[in-house]
Amino acid sequence: MTDLSLFVPGTSLLHRLPAGAKLLGLLALSIVTIWLQSAWQVGAVLALVLVGYAVAGIGPSLVARQVRPLLWFLVVIAGVQVWTSGWQMALTVVGTIVVLVLAAALVTLTTRTTAMADAVVAACRPLRVVGVDPERVGLMIALAMRSVPVVVGIAQDVRDAQRARGVRFAPQAYGVALVVRSLRQATALGDALLARGLDD
């Protein structure tokens, strides 16, 4: 599934760690950040996360790409914090966000989607007692992954058809055509699931 995932192939220690361990580590880190008080502490944790990127062999440009889409929010938040609580507080708050975002992205970049899905299914196993079927969860994840490229293909067809008729982009017509054709696809998929023994 490599062409549909953010995973960066590699053989580093972080790549080889089991997905479950990385997710637990991320959880632990996010709990730690609740107690971070000063900009220095945040800086230390941020340095630790950046070391993680170095270990995984992921370069600065990919690190920057994780944060860039947040810039607008970070600027607003920093501005408000400087104004109300001073620059120290602004650094702490913005730094904590960057730490969490970078750490979470590091897990994503070093873990295959399938390994992550297996970890989720394993994590669901204790939930069996409350009626969650872990296998059904895994099946739904797989089905959804399969459906994304199929529906994206339908979306391209719909766009092309509208362009061929010289229609300017009309969100309403586009939306109706996309959803109706996707629901037809779903009916066919439901038939196929039944034919292939989903009810066994």
């Binding site: 599934m1 062409d3 549909l4 797989a142 089905l143 992954m145 399969r146 490229p149 199929v150 293909g153 696809q185 066919a188 998929l189 038939d191 196929a192 699931l193 039944l194 034919a195 292939r196 023994g197 009810d199 066994d200």
Partner: protein
């Protein structure tokens, strides 16, 4: 042995009421059976009746004595089904996972399924694509994958609903060759009449009725006259 007795299929009610199949009565025991008819003739609904995907409004359909409505599950284990559009029947993200999906009903999962899956992929010439995402396959490869995924469960009967309609000539021939080599009983719905060479029996549907039932030559003649 498939027995279709007194089957009618009606959709909707009132003004929207449409009779899709009308009084179909037929027993299917031949090794190779073709089904032809124009668009909307009811042949696709007929195919879906045979594994219980469609439940008859009136009448009954049985496969080796099993009723498709009451024992749908058991029927679907006996009758494999291949659809026209491979994209709607490939249900898993990668080739290997999709082939393995059908083995769940046999209790084969995970690593235990691997040798069976590898074997099937090799037979269909799909080994090199085992870990490819399904959506990166060509149309012909997708239909081969669909066929592979159905046949791995070793059904007694295979029903194919226009499996080559969306394919080019070369890939259509490839699917045709695979189908011809199968040990199973095959029921093939198609517009490509040359695929029916060597078949034992061909059914012709028109406006919801079974209008002709003959050896391929006679049935195809009848169909051509009907379409003229």
């Amino acid at each position: 042995m498939i027995e279709v007795s007194g089957v009618s299929q009606v959709y909707g009610a009132g003004a929207a009421r449409r009779t899709v199949l009308d009084g179909v009565e037929v027993t299917l025991s031949e090794h190779r059976i073709g089904v032809v008819g124009s668009n909307g003739s009811g042949k696709s609904t007929f195919a879906r009746l045979l594994n219980g995907l469609v439940e008859p409004t009136r009448g009954t359909v049985t496969v080796d004595g099993l009723d498709t409505v009451r024992e749908g599950r058991a029927v679907r284990q006996k009758v494999g089904f291949c659809f026209t559009d491979p994209d709607s029947q490939i249900v898993m993200p990668t080739v290997r996972e999709d082939v393995a999906f059908g083995l769940r009903r046999k209790g084969l999962r995970g690593a235990a399924a691997d040798p069976v899956v590898d074997d099937a992929l090799a037979r269909f010439g799909l080994s090199a694509l085992a870990d490819s995402p399904a959506h990166t396959l060509s149309g012909g490869e997708k239909q081969l994958l669909a066929l592979c995924s159905v046949l791995i469960t070793e059904p007694d009967v295979l029903v194919l609903d226009e499996p080559t309609t969306l394919l080019d000539l070369r890939n259509a021939r490839r699917i045709g060759d695979v189908v011809a080599s199968l040990p199973q009983q095959v029921l093939l719905v198609t517009h490509q009449l040359d695929l029916l060479a060597g078949f034992d029996r061909v059914l012709v549907f028109d406006e919801g009725r079974l209008v002709h039932d003959d050896a391929p030559a006679g049935a195809v003649d009848h169909y051509r006259r009907l379409m003229a």
